[in-house]
Each structure stands twice: as C-alpha cells, then as structure tokens.
C-alpha cells in the first residue's frame, strides 16, 4: 500500500468519525484543529487497527508521529 493510499483511507475514516466531508480533511492540518478529542482519537486508532492491522495504542508514539494525517500515514507506511 502506498503512502497516498494510506492517506486516502485515513481521510475517509476520519471524515466518518468526525462527521465531516472527506474533502475538508487536509493532510497537513493538525488533528486537534479538526475538533478531534481523546475519544475520537481512540476511534481513529481503532479504525487504524481494523484497516491496517496495527495496534498503535500499544506503541510508544510521539506527537510528531500523529499530529497530522500526513505524519500518521508516514508512520503507518513505515510499519506495514
């Protein structure tokens, strides 16, 4: 799976979790600026586990790894 495909899938999942239009999810926008709180962030982590078979909650992730869709996609691409 390419990084672009991962980004696309992440945008789709985040759009569904936050009830937003996929087109409004920019890959560089910090997640907290999209109104994402602890609960919706955990929903994103669950979505990632179901979609990419990665349990990110158990990994030592830093803010840098997760701050934007772009960073998250890079991190996931590195783990797949």
């Amino acid at each position: 799976m390419t990084k672009e495909e991962i980004e696309d899938k992440l945008r789709q999942g985040i759009a569904s979790i936050t009830s937003r239009d996929k087109s409004s999810i920019a890959v560089e926008t910090p997640l907290h600026e999209m109104g994402i709180d602890s609960l919706s962030f955990v929903e994103i982590l669950v979505f990632i586990e179901k979609s990419f078979n990665l349990r990110l909650i158990e990994l030592d992730l830093t803010k840098k790894d997760l701050e934007t869709v772009d960073a998250l996609a890079s991190f996931i691409a590195g783990k797949l």
Binding site: S19, L39, L45, V46, I57, K63
Partner: protein, 440 residues
C-alpha cells in the same frame, strides 16, 4: 428496518440518554434539595448593562418555546417533551450587586445558591444570574439537564451571543432541530446492546467499588471548589499529558490524576485499598452544525474500573484507563449504552431510580468525571466585556455525590469539584487540590 414514528412540532420523543437523565433528576429531587441541574458561568472583566441583558434574554428565549416544555408520554408510551406553542413564562434573571469583586470568592455564594434552587415548576428549566460590582461581573445560566447537556448549554449561550451581535435576529432559531424519532423498531439490536451493557455492569461490580458514605438527610445542597489553572500551568499540564499518556490523551491523563488524588481522600476516610468505578460522559455529537443537536442530551458513557493495585503509580493508572478506553471504543460500548438505554424508557421514573441502585450494592459509582476539551469556538466578548473564564458547576448523582469536571477555555484549564454537603470537609478539599496540583 422497521417503521419510524417521527416527532412533531409540539412533541419531541426522548432518547434513552434523555430518560436516564430524567431518572437521575427524579433521584436527585428525592435525596437532595433540587434536581439534575448544572450551571455554566462566564467570568467577565467588566460590568454589563442589566436592563439590556434582561430585554435581550427575553427576546431570545421567546424564540425557543422548547425551554418551557415538560415531560409527558405518548399513546404508544414513548416518553416525550411537550413543547408549548410559544414561550410565555419569561426570563428568570436574578441580579446582585457587590461592593468588592476582586476574586471568584466574593460572588461564590450567589453561584452556589443559584444551582441549588429548585426550579419553580415543571415548565421552568433555565434561570440566569448576574453578579456585578467594582468593574467586574459574573454571568451564570442554571440549566435543567433534561433540556440541555453541558456542551448544549455552552452552545445555547454561544447562540445568544450571536443573537446579541447579528442584525437579523429573526433567523436565529433556523436550523435548530427539535424532532427525533420514537425509535420503536430494531428491537433485536437494542436487546443485544442491552445484553452487552449488562455484561459490562456485572464485570464492573466485582469487586464492589468503594464510595464515600452519603450523609443522611434529603435536603442537602451541593458545594463546589473551583480551581483555575493559569495559561502557563495549563500548557504544562497538556505537555505532561502528552509525555505521560500520549498524544491527545488528555482525558485518560486527567482521570488518572484524579483517581490518584481520590485514593488519598478515600484512605483519609479509612478505606485502605479502595477500588473505583467511574462513569465518564462522552459527547456523541458529530462535529457538524451544533444547532442540529442543541437541545436535550447527546451523551453516552464509558465506564472505568481501577483496582487498588493499579493505583500504585500514575503510569499504571494511565495505562489501565487507556486500555479500557480503547477496548470499550473497539467493542462499540458508547453506541451500546445509547441503544440499551432506549429499552429503559418503558419504566416509570420511580422504578428507574430503584433499578439504578441494584448493581454495585447501591453505590452506583465511586465518583463522576468529565472533561470538556477545546469545544465550539467561543469568542471572548460578551455585551462589551471580555470573558476571562468559563466553567461548569454540575450537581452530581447521589450516590456517589462527588464529581470532578474539567473544562478548557481560552488557553486555561479549570477543574471544578462538586460534592454534596457533608460528604467531605474543607481539609479534604484542600488535600485534593494540593494533590492534583502536585500531580498535574
């Protein structure tokens, strides 16, 4: 897909969450001096024009007859909110002048009185309070949780602010959705959700959680401690949350710190190794237009069980809370709670308040907790004054009669401890504040 009975202009069917809130209201009226209410407080850096506030509030409230509704049942037995054709009662606004207003302490008794006063009848669900003097003011709205949840109350006042500033006030109520289906279909799904919730409750009940003994007497008021952190302190707390719990894990971090502080409190009260069950309310709205879901309750719950051995240090408490949060979200617990609660609507409120006491040997929970993070954008002006802080003062279900509520506004975190009179003493509160400040 079964058939759907929509609500009409004058009746809005209640959800399962609404019915739980109604049951808690009934319970609180039995064991305390008032119902399931809360209060949102704006601290202002200037005084405001009282006659103007009164007249603008009256015009605003008249746009929303739903605020003068009452609970009833339909012929199909579904509970509903009966909405009058127009709002007629008017605005209940108390005004107090104080000579000195240098800190929150100078006006706190007015705020506590406001949130501990029973609404005058079943059609009153809002009251407003203005305390001002010495170039500062405090504006508060006491609200019935049967009408608004915490996020809804913030948004209602946000809409009022828009009403004050926008030229075309005739359209302010546009987009506010006051209909909801009766949800009398898909019974199989509801019963499966009910089974899942029952299993969760059974697993939470062993071992029995600890809670402080509720003092006797059925007319006790709630007391509050408000701790506001400065901008630098707040930034440090969020950094600590990032480092200790992980990115965007503020809620588990704040809950873990609270559990650690409550552990000290329970130990002071003679409980050697307390276990905890904590319900945490969640906002189930999407991030779309808040007007769609302004009124009534759009919440669900996560339940956390923290055993005594998991509270030995902050890190292990954080880890257990994070893991439980993840597992519950993955298994769809918030949606199950919302679905399962729909089944309770057939029960009368007098029966509901007894059902609540069946699990956990009547203790219900060790304490209540919520965290309202960065929410809908609240500009900081209000009738010509700057809003310096916003916080909530909820009345907590009894038992447990103890709650911790965090909210974030304009770069500052505020913690409010709410407790029923006599449950804890001033020294206990001081100890809690010291422990929280040390750990956060």
């Amino acid at each position: 897909m079964g058939f759907v009975i929509p609500s009409s202009k004058h009746r809005r069917y209640l959800s399962g969450a609404d019915w739980i809130i109604n049951a808690l209201d009934c319970m609180l009226k039995t064991v305390t001096c008032a119902g399931n209410m809360s209060q949102i407080v704006f601290m202002l850096d200037g005084e405001i024009d009282e006659p103007l506030l009164r007249s603008r509030l009256e015009s605003f409230i008249r746009k929303f007859p739903v605020v003068e509704g009452r609970v009833s049942r339909d012929l199909n037995l579904t509970p509903l909110w009966k909405i009058p054709g127009k709002a007629v009662v008017g605005v209940n606004l108390d005004v107090h002048r104080v000579q000195a207003f240098s800190s929150l302490n100078d006006v706190f008794s007015f705020l506590e009185n406001g949130v501990n006063r029973l609404f005058k009848d079943e059609n009153e669900h809002l009251s407003f309070h203005l305390v001002q003097g010495g170039g500062r003011a405090c504006f508060a709205m006491t609200f019935d949780h049967r009408l608004l949840d915490a996020r809804g109350a913030e948004s209602f006042l946000h809409l009022f602010r828009q009403f004050l500033t926008e030229g075309d006030e005739s359209r302010i109520e546009e987009g506010v959705c006051l209909t909801a289906p009766a949800c009398l279909s898909d019974w199989g799904r509801k019963f499966i959700a009910g089974r899942n919730l029952n299993r969760k409750i059974i697993s939470l009940s062993k071992p029995t959680p600890d809670a402080l003994p509720v003092p006797s007497g059925n007319d006790r008021a709630f007391r509050y401690k408000v701790v506001s952190f400065g901008a630098d302190e707040t930034a440090k707390i969020y950094d600590n949350a990032d480092n200790s719990a992980g990115f965007m894990m503020e809620m588990p971090y704040l809950l873990a710190v609270t559990v650690q502080a409550v552990r000290g409190l329970f130990q002071r009260k003679g409980m050697a190794a307390p276990n905890y069950v904590v319900p945490v309310s969640l906002d189930m709205r999407g991030s779309g237009d808040i007007r769609q879901e302004l009124f009534f309750n759009h919440v669900s719950y996560l339940f956390f069980k923290v055993l005594a051995e998991e509270t030995v240090d902050l890190k292990s408490t954080i880890n257990t809370i994070k893991q439980q949060m993840y597992d519950q979200v993955k298994s769809g617990m918030p949606a199950d709670v919302a679905e399962a609660c729909l089944l309770t609507r057939i029960a009368p409120l007098s029966l509901m308040k007894k059902i609540f006491r069946i699990p956990f040997k009547g203790r219900i929970a060790s304490f209540c907790f919520s965290y309202l993070g960065k929410g809908p954008s609240m500009a900081s002006g209000f009738m010509g004054a700057e809003i310096t802080n916003i916080f909530h003062m909820p009345r907590v279900p009894v038992p447990p009669g103890l709650g911790f509520f965090f909210n974030y506004f304009n770069g500052r975190l505020t913690m409010v401890v709410s407790y029923i009179e006599g449950l804890i003493e001033d020294e206990d509160i001081q100890m809690l504040e010291e422990r929280m400040r040390e750990s956060l």
